[in-house]
Each structure stands twice: as structure tokens, then as C-alpha cells.
């Protein structure tokens, strides 16, 4: 039982990650792929933040009378990672827009038909 209590958080996060990952690799629509990518990454962020949690701790902003803080380092890392994520999303979506213009579709199997695959 305690094993489950200690790990349930990670397991659900893994489940979320895999749902996002599935959307990335299985989706045919490029926009949906990008959505999947975002879900995947956001779930990974949750894993990091879970690492940083300290039971009974509070947000890592120094204040009078608080002695236990959660670990600030994962927070910093994830701040950076979120930015990286949105940057990738922006470029990916821009590519989708261009693909739509060039091929007239954003369904992967449709434009694959239109180009001879290498």
C-alpha cells in the first residue's frame, strides 16, 4: 500500500506522457501531432515538478517563519523547458501552415501520397 502511495503520482504521469506520445506518433493530422507533443512535454514537466516536491514544504520563496521549502531546482529547469516547448510549438505550427499552403492538406498520409517518398 505504501508503495502505491509513494509512486502513484509517477504512474499517472507516465500514463499521461504515453497518451501524449501516442497522439504524436499515431495522429495523422499535423496540428494534432503538435498538440500531442505538447501534452507529452507537459507531462514530463509534471514528473520534474513531482521530483521537487517536499512533503510539508512550501513554495521556494523565502519568508519569515517557514523552514521547509520545496526544491527550487526542478522548477528552474522546467521554466526553461516550458519555453523550449513553446518555441518548438511555434515553429512546428508555422511549418504546418506552410505545408497547408504548399500541399493543400495537413493530413500526413495525403501529402505523403503527393511526394515520392524517399
Amino acid at each position: 500500500m505504501s508503495f502505491i502511495v509513494d509512486h502513484y503520482n509517477y504512474w499517472i504521469v507516465v500514463l499521461l506522457m504515453m497518451m501524449g506520445f501516442y497522439v504524436v506518433i499515431a495522429a495523422n493530422n499535423l496540428v494534432k501531432k503538435i498538440v500531442g507533443l505538447n501534452i507529452f512535454q507537459t507531462s514530463v514537466f509534471m514528473m520534474y515538478i513531482s521530483i521537487g516536491k517536499v512533503n510539508g514544504g512550501s513554495a521556494p520563496i523565502a519568508a519569515e517563519g517557514i523552514t521547509t521549502y520545496s526544491n527550487p531546482l526542478p522548477h528552474v529547469l522546467i521554466l526553461t523547458a516550458i519555453v523550449v516547448g513553446v518555441a518548438t510549438t511555434a515553429v512546428g505550427l508555422a511549418l504546418v501552415v506552410r505545408i497547408k499552403r504548399a500541399y493543400g492538406t495537413v493530413e500526413e498520409n495525403e501529402f505523403e501520397d503527393k511526394e515520392d517518398l524517399i
Binding site: N55, P60, I61, T89, A90
Partner: protein
């Protein structure tokens, strides 16, 4: 109590993600994604990561969703049913998931203060940073000083994204105001927008400069300020927005922000300290740190603001272009 909230939120996340897999209406998918981001922001708050929650809400639920919607306007909101193979992806996902679950078996207990992660590097940040850096928000201290190089990289990533989107979509021309756009008929919206946009900008400035003491900082501030202008562009039309903040200026600002950040580091080089060592920026090392952090946060804020708005302009320009056609 926190565990129960955590569990409920996680459950809701799972439901959201599950729906995203199966729903074919992309508009719904994107809205669900926005919800997903908000929910994860809530989890972040619950796990004491307020800065992260702030950012996730602004970025995931804000900018990302707006960009996705912008894309949908151009590409259509229906996902076509396809005979795409699902077995192989499912297999890959199962294997990956199984590997991850295997990995969790030896993971340290969730929330245990004795975890190695809380024992090694982090204690120094928690115990010494208020004295060494002189600001209470440890996340800002680590972000802007101890791991300032990461943040410099992050700024460069945002800049790179702006460059990428610009090269793909291009910026809208400034004087195309002949096209009627924006929500002209929404009088209520226009009035309210006029009222709150200055407030949002003000709030952005608050977040920018209050980041040392509370959650926030250059990144969040930049996003919020960009959101203000995005709202402006949505309500009053892109041409008006480009009139207020011309795209060329944005491009220059995005570049300038990176330069401010890196320049701060170079100043320390000239003061014969290591790159990004702010201690030498003032007589007192702690004051120096403070100056340095303000400077680089400003750089981050400017770049993020300009880059995000640039990206939005590029997408909005495409939509306008489509409307003309």
C-alpha cells in the same frame, strides 16, 4: 489533503488527454489542450511550483492555444478519419510506458524530504541564496544567477523560434490597413479591451520587476505583455496593432533582448570576472547580483515579449492573407 487534490487533478488530466486522443474535431482538441495546460498549472501550484504554474498558464493555455487556434483557422478544424496504422504506435507506446514504469520502481518516494534530489545541490540554493543573492525568490536566484547560462540559452531558444517563424511565414506589411478587420461590431468588447489592456501591460511590468520577491520574472512578464497586444490585435485588427508596435521594431527588440542578456555577461568579462558573474557589477557583491538579475530579466522580458508578438503577427498575417483570398 494535498494528495487528494493532486489525485483529482491528475484524474481530470487523464480524462482530458484520453479525449484528445479520440476526438476528431480539432477545435475541441485544442480547447481541451488549453484545459490540460490549466489543470497542469494547478498541479504545479499544488506541488509548490508557483513560478512554473504561472508560466504554464501563460504559455500552455495562453500563447500555445492561441497559436494553435490561429493555425486551425488556416488549416481547417476537422481531422480526417484515416486508416492510419495504430498497432505499431500502440506497441511503441506500450513498450516505452512499460520501460518508464520499470524505471519508477526504484524511484525515490514522492515528497520524501530525504530524497537525494533534496540533499545534494538544492540545499545550498535554499539556505544560502537569500544571503548570497539577496532576493527571497529562490527560483529567480537559481534561474538568473546560479543557472543563468541555462536562461541565456532559453532566451536564445525564444529568439530562434522567432527567427524560424519569421523565415517560414514572414511578417505582415505594416500599411495594409485598407482591409477591414478586427471585431468592429463588438462595441462592448472594444470598450472593455480599451480599459483592461493598459491594466494588463501594467501587470506585466509588475511581474517583470516583482519577480525577485514573488512568482514571476522576465519570461512571464514578456508573455503577459505580448498577450495584451495580442488582445489588442484581436479586437482592433492586425493593421492597428502593427501601427502601435511595428513588426520591424519587434524584430529589433527581440534581438536587443538577447544582446542585453549576453551583454551583461560580457560586462562582467570586462570587469575581469567570469561570464555572467554579477558580483562585480557593484561594489557590494549582493548589490551586484541584484543589478545583474534586473538587467538580464529585462533582456528576457524584452526578447520574450517581442518574439511572442512577432510569432503572433506572423500567424495573424497569414490569416489576414487567407481572408483576402
Amino acid at each position: 489533503m494535498a494528495e487528494i487534490i493532486d489525485l483529482v487533478l491528475l484524474g481530470m488530466l487523464a480524462i482530458t488527454a484520453f479525449n484528445i486522443i479520440f476526438i476528431k474535431d480539432l477545435f475541441t482538441v485544442v480547447m481541451l489542450f488549453g484545459i490540460y495546460s490549466f489543470l497542469s498549472a494547478l498541479i504545479f501550484v499544488n506541488l509548490d511550483a508557483v513560478d512554473v504554474a504561472f508560466t504554464e498558464a501563460a504559455v500552455g493555455a495562453g500563447i500555445s492555444t492561441v497559436l494553435m487556434l490561429g493555425t486551425l483557422a488556416l488549416t481547417g478544424r476537422k481531422e480526417k478519419a484515416s486508416s492510419h496504422k495504430t498497432i505499431l504506435p500502440l506497441l511503441v507506446v506500450c513498450v516505452t510506458g512499460a520501460a518508464l514504469i520499470y524505471g519508477t520502481l526504484d524511484m525515490p518516494l514522492f515528497g520524501d524530504p530525504d530524497n537525494p534530489a533534496h540533499q545534494h545541490v538544492a540545499p545550498r540554493y535554499i539556505e544560502d541564496s537569500p544571503q548570497e543573492i539577496g532576493i527571497p525568490n529562490m527560483v529567480t536566484s537559481v534561474l538568473a544567477s546560479y543557472r543563468a547560462f541555462d536562461t541565456l540559452g532559453e532566451t536564445a531558444v525564444v529568439f530562434a523560434a522567432a527567427i524560424g517563424v519569421l523565415s517560414l511565414l514572414g511578417l505582415p506589411k505594416r500599411d495594409r490597413a485598407t482591409i477591414q478587420s478586427g471585431l468592429k461590431s463588438h462595441l462592448v468588447l472594444r470598450v472593455v479591451a480599451k480599459m483592461i489592456i493598459p491594466l494588463i501591460v501594467l501587470f506585466a511590468l509588475y511581474v517583470q520587476f516583482h519577480g525577485d520577491y514573488g512568482p514571476g520574472g522576465g519570461f512571464q512578464a514578456g508573455v503577459i505583455a505580448a498577450a495584451a497586444l495580442i488582445l489588442y490585435a484581436l479586437v482592433f485588427g492586425l493593421p492597428m496593432a502593427t501601427h502601435v508596435v511595428p513588426p520591424r521594431v519587434l524584430k529589433a527588440l527581440a534581438a536587443l533582448g538577447v544582446l542585453i542578456y549576453a551583454g551583461t555577461g560580457v560586462v562582467s568579462l570586462f570587469l575581469s570576472a567570469n561570464f555572467l558573474d554579477y558580483s562585480v557589477l557593484a561594489e557590494d557583491p549582493v548589490a551586484g547580483q541584484h543589478i545583474g538579475i534586473i538587467a538580464i530579466e529585462l533582456g528576457v522580458g524584452i526578447t520574450v515579449f517581442a518574439a511572442m508578438l512577432c510569432i503572433f503577427y506572423a500567424f495573424a498575417g497569414q490569416t489576414e492573407r487567407k481572408n483576402i483570398q
